[in-house]
């Protein structure tokens, strides 16, 4: 299957991120559930405040992307939001954001779902939309306020955050898409039925047959068809449900620590689900230089991966400072305890 390249070359004209300020340390989860005796998969995770949700997170990120893009929002032809925690099952998150940023009414809008890869879905689609000439600009957002089942292993890491990207013709872009690729199979490693609040997962089945199989397959195919080795990239950003998986997968693809370090945010903010790999990518773009090449591979349970080869242009240096850096959001932290987290996340039944 050939790589995905549109007729018109496309890239990123603006990017932005948002991470809520509250942090729940992993040792707090261990304190409550395991008498403090547990291996901690990350240091702490970002928790949304009582007035935050996927829409507010996506909107902040979109505003930051717009600030960097410097375009008239009316020229955006599509607003797409990928998440597994859309505020409504029916009523799009995307139209709320589209209206709030001034992109309505002459625009496409839709919500996307593919577990943690819903965000990069919107990017793949935006590349196609802009690359076919159907729109001049398209906004793709990945954001989540993931819910962790109390006492479950995933409670340590299920976090909140998001990133937004405005896709444009390559000549206007601060970073260009060289090619992209998608790889999917029917693999039920993690799922949630409509009437259940918390997802279920297959424990160890989520590892090798799910995350690793799809990330490696997508990455290897993209790299091999482009004729690239790991050393041809300055940075690699992978989906990051924890610290161990992306480190191991990066090593298996031939990457060194200096290449994956910048884009690995999970230890500090947790797994932001549909925002995860896109958020990691913003952290890389915040410090990248013209000519840098970045490999970005997402993973969504169910399962599949989107892989992107991205080349940074000289336009980037003028854009980085036009909105808060992702590291600024990471540094802006207010530590909370398990009780406050339970209250903020609506886990306390009041009746």
């Amino acid at each position: 299957m050939p790589l995905m390249k549109p007729k018109i070359e496309t890239g990123i004209i603006g990017y932005g991120s948002y991470i809520p300020q509250y942090r729940l340390p992993a040792h707090e989860v261990a304190r409550v559930w395991k008498e403090g005796q547990a291996g901690l998969p990350i240091t702490e995770k970002a928790v949304p405040g009582p007035d935050e949700d996927t829409m507010t997170i996506g909107l902040e990120a979109a505003r930051n992307a717009l600030a960097r893009a410097g375009i008239d929002p009316q020229e955006i032809g599509a607003v797409w939001v990928g998440s597994e925690s859309h505020p409504y099952a029916v009523k799009p998150t995307s139209t709320i954001i589209a209206e709030a940023i001034g992109a309505t009414p002459h625009t496409e809008a839709a919500d996307w779902q593919f577990a943690c890869k819903a965000g990069t879905e919107t990017i793949q689609a935006a590349i196609g939309f802009v690359g076919s000439g159907m729109a001049h600009y398209a906004l793709g957002i990945g954001a989540d306020t993931a819910q962790g089942r109390p006492g479950d292993a995933l409670e340590y890491t299920a976090a909140a955050g998001g990133a937004a990207y405005i896709i444009a013709p390559a000549e206007e872009s601060l970073a260009i898409f060289e090619a992209s690729y998608s790889y999917v199979t029917d693999t039920p490693d993690f799922w949630r039925r409509p009437n259940t609040h918390y997802p279920s997962h297959g424990q160890r089945f989520t590892g090798e047959p799910a995350y690793f199989h799809h990330v490696l397959a997508a990455g290897q195919e993209l790299m091999s068809q482009l004729g690239y080795q790991a050393r041809d990239f300055q940075y690699v950003v992978l989906h990051q449900p924890n610290k161990k998986f992306p480190e191991r997968a990066a090593a298996m693809l031939g990457f060194e620590k200096e290449q994956w370090q910048t884009g690995l945010l999970a230890p500090a903010v947790g797994n932001t689900y549909a925002g995860a790999s896109l958020l990691g990518l913003t952290a890389v773009l915040d410090i990248a230089k013209a000519g840098d090449r970045i490999l970005c591979i997402s993973f969504g349970s169910g399962a599949g991966s989107d892989a992107f080869s991205i080349r940074v242009t000289e336009k980037i240096s003028a854009k980085q400072g036009l909105a808060p850096l992702t590291q600024n959001y990471i540094n802006r932290r207010v530590e909370i305890d398990y009780a406050t987290y339970a209250r903020y996340r609506g886990k306390l039944q009041m009746h």
């Binding site: 547990a38 291996g39 090798e208 047959p209």
Partner: protein
């Protein structure tokens, strides 16, 4: 009663075979064993398995596997004795041939644990204990063994690190076994730092859950030469049982069924522990290794861990154990483990154990434990110079 020998062996690698089903795993091992024995048909099949009903929703493995393997119509039945199921299948196969009722018999152990995860698997494993008097109190199988280890450490003034040698030896040997689940050595620091699973059992005290299948082909010794130059004689086959629950044992720190079955086996073979060249014991947990060594006559009561401490259990030691990784490093697909032990013993006696070869191995012993010691099956094998 006829003399019985093993004329063929087969095994799958032990691991998480997410994409292999029970019948496929079984077929892989069975076909390999039949090829090794140069046979195309058998009189009977005994399938050892513990969890197929609860985990895979599949009981009735005898005809399922016989048919799938192209042996539709033969006598075939599933045999269950918790984690001793595979050795129990071998025992039935042995009786079939020794009695003269069957000639070519397949004993197969298969387990597919990755068809479920988490609490369902834990509950399935707990069914090896007494449901009405042990499990009802919330005991899991690991917790039950943790209570035994706790008492053992208290009684004999031991520290956790006194058990490290069992895990280190198992992993060192697993490194030389291409079919082992874990092929990396571990260090004492890894053992000491490992997380508690159920205090005092740490991650590196406990054997891993896994999928796998192993099979052997039996025939009367007098016919063995028709099939292979490499026959291995079953010199002893002995089963003993004990109370299912730990609290009903005369002494919770003594594997009475190991003593009984080992004694019967030594008598059948006309040998003693000093004659055994290697011992594939049931190291589901490090404390079980210590208890098995004591009850089988290799160590004084309470001193099982001394053998690990003093290096007597390694390949060059006085009594090599877990020579191909044991349950700890080769892995523990519960209902199949007993036949992995036998396949490995046969490899040793044939001189096919590669880097794990015990020098001049002539007499090997295997011991498979069901539950916390309620079924213990001991076999002794001898190289047959035809």
């Amino acid at each position: 009663m006829r003399d019985v020998s093993i004329i063929g062996i087969g095994q799958t690698p032990v691991g998480e075979h997410w994409d292999r089903s029970l019948r496929h795993l079984a077929y892989d091992a069975l076909a390999a064993a039949m090829k090794d024995a140069n046979i195309e048909w058998a009189d009977a099949l005994y399938v050892g398995n513990m969890l197929s009903g609860e985990i895979s929703g599949q009981a009735h493995l005898g005809p399922l596997i016989a048919d799938f393997a192209g042996l539709r119509g033969i006598e075939a039945v599933k045999v269950e004795a918790a984690c001793a199921s595979a050795a129990a299948a071998l025992r039935q196969a042995y009786i079939g041939v020794a009695s003269g009722l069957q000639d070519i018999v397949i004993a197969l152990g298969v387990e597919k644990m990755t068809d479920d995860v988490g609490s369902q698997l834990t509950a399935g494993l707990a069914s090896a204990a007494d449901a009405d008097y042990e499990v009802i109190h919330g005991i899991t199988f690991v917790a039950l063994n943790a209570l035994i280890m706790q008492r053992y450490m208290y009684q004999y003034q031991l520290k956790r690190e006194d058990f490290a040698g069992f895990a280190i030896n198992a992993h060192a040997n697993g490194a030389g076994n291409p079919n082992a689940m874990f092929q990396q050595p571990i260090r004492k620091e890894d053992f000491i730092r490992s997380h508690m699973v159920a205090d005092p059992i740490g991650l590196l005290d406990a054997s891993p859950m896994a999928d796998g299948a192993a099979a052997v082909i039996l025939c009367p010794t007098e016919q063995a030469r028709d099939f292979t130059e490499n026959a291995i004689r079953i010199k002893a086959s002995a089963v003993a049982t004990d109370s299912l629950s730990v609290h009903d044992r005369r002494d919770p720190l003594w594997l009475q069924a190991a003593e009984d079955s080992a004694r019967k086996a030594y008598r059948q073979a006309g040998v003693g522990p000093q004659d055994i060249d290697f011992f594939e014991l049931h190291d589901a947990f490090t404390v079980m290794s210590a208890l098995s060594l004591e009850a089988s006559g290799f160590a004084e009561r309470g001193k099982g861990t001394w053998l690990a401490r003093d290096g007597e259990i390694c390949l060059e030691g006085r009594i090599p154990i877990t020579t191909r990784g044991g349950l700890k490093a080769r892995g523990h697909p519960v209902g199949a483990t007993g036949l992995y032990q036998v396949v490995e013993a046969v490899q040793q006696l044939r001189g096919e154990a590669g880097p794990n070869q015990v020098a001049n191995a002539r007499l090997g012993m295997t011991q498979n434990i069901g539950g916390s010691g309620a079924t213990i099956i001991t076999h002794i094998f001898e190289r047959l110079d035809l």
